[in-house]
């Protein structure tokens, strides 16, 4: 399986010199240079946080997991395979963190209870004509709806959907990260979308006609 060697999690100050800079930094970091780790942290943290925010749907959780990802990378640096890109390695650790997070919150009945409560409290969220003047609040509610529906999806479908549709990772990178083929990724994303639509209808967020017209 091809690894995601072209991920750009840790941008260098001079992009032209990025590979050399990063490999030197990583070599120093793995040799125990705390300054190199500090620089990698400074470079990589924002992108890592962004990735985890998309994967988890919650900023506080993402901040916690981003720290944990770095801490784990530092602590397990001797297990880092130099043949693999550092960014891909970090991505992989972050993805595992996100998986643990999803497993810990796997209680779809609770998620659906929240969905029901939101639906009652915010019925306009399911309509196209937005009556709620607080658009940002509505967006946040919709975001919660999506993540709650995602909680009920199988891991494989949810991950494919998150990295492609929310994180907007290019197909090749996303497929490499999940260690599947691009074709398989496309199928999973498509199935995830279908399942989300079904779930929205089942929970009453969409009318049967809205689903049937597709």
């Amino acid at each position: 399986m091809q690894h995601a060697t072209h991920l750009r999690l840790c941008p260098a100050q001079d992009p032209a010199d990025a590979p050399a800079q990063t490999s030197t930094l990583v070599a120093r970091a793995c040799a125990g240079d705390i300054g190199a780790w500090a620089t990698l942290y400074e470079r990589c943290y924002d992108a890592l946080l962004r990735q985890l925010r998309h994967l988890t749907g919650d900023l506080a959780t993402a901040e916690e997991l981003a720290q944990e990802t770095f801490a784990q990378a530092m602590a397990s640096r001797t297990r880092y395979d130099r043949a693999r890109s550092f960014e891909a390695w970090l991505h992989g650790i972050a993805l595992n963190m996100a998986r643990k997070h999803w497993r810990s919150r796997r209680n779809t009945s609770a998620a659906h209870a929240r969905l029901g409560a939101m639906h009652d409290a915010c019925p306009a969220a399911s309509s196209s004509a937005l009556a709620d003047p607080d658009r940002m609040h509505l967006q946040r509610e919709r975001s919660r709806v999506l993540y709650d529906v995602l909680a009920g999806l199988p891991d494989k479908l949810r991950e494919a959907f998150l990295v492609r549709e929310l994180q907007a990772m290019p197909p090749e990178e996303a497929a490499a990260l999940l260690e599947i083929s691009p074709g398989n990724l496309a199928v999973r994303v498509s199935r995830a979308r279908a399942r989300i639509g079904e779930e929205l209808r089942r929970l009453g967020w969409l009318s049967p006609e809205q689903g049937a017209s597709r």
Partner: protein, 322 residues
Amino acid sequence: MTADHVDRLISAATATADRDLAHAVRPAFTDVVARAARLDPAAVPTRWLAAADDPRPAWPAEPAVAPRRRWLVPLLAAAAVLLAFGVQRGLARRDPASERAFQAGAQPDPAAPQSSRNTRPSARTTTDSAVHDSTTQHSVTRDGAALDSAARNSPAHDSAAHDSARNAAADDSAARNAAARDAAVPDTTRTADTSAADARAPHESLDDLLARLDDEAEACMQAGDLACADARYREIVQRGGRRVQVELAFADRFHLARQRGDDDALRKLWTAYLTRFPRGQFADDARGGSCRHAAQPAACWRSYLADFPTGSFAAEAAEAAR
């Protein structure tokens, strides 16, 4: 229709994530080192814990740009004070329209110097440059370490006063410039287009106007009146400067132009979009689409590859640029 609703949820989720990330704070590096030590005490030397408080001097390979630019900090701080003074004086003279723009916090015109605090990359952008931008956005950390980083990464280390002053003037000029640029885009709906802006309520903020236009556009779409929808999206593009709603409106206009099969309009929309959002969330698509229709495709694809080495069209670009 289900797909539209799922897309709506995705759009809301990405917009919410962007807002969250704009307020994120980078934890102190020392906290991470301490956490690593808790995870595996044997793997973290005790000297790390002491060194983590000030790890930067241990890293000599960092470009020498940082020390050279440190003189900028006091200079820019002084400039910020002057600007703040200027803003205070200017506020007293600002006309009501400018005041609304100031309160709406519109983004500056692309022609204006960029503010690192305002240039938030989109969640849906994966270019090098966008990711690079993202490293400068969290300019405040719990240990203050990234303040140095922000000064180093941002030639124009800006202050809140600086941002405010620029935003105050930027909105109207952005709208004017946008209108001039977008004039080149064919508009089959100009008649329908004028009503929304003219109907702007006296005290309606720009945010409210854009939200209302978006709602109207959606209602038009639901009714199957695509020309009406396009007119509303066009209005958002003209009015909204560089706000995220404008990017989405552009995307809807791309979609509508594709539906009409109007390649000429699509090309002009791509150009208008890239002028305003050269690193926007749809820049990869717009650049790729433009290159497919370019008069000199090889040169266009080479340029694309330089900017989007891992972009969606990278393979096609590499093939065409040979």
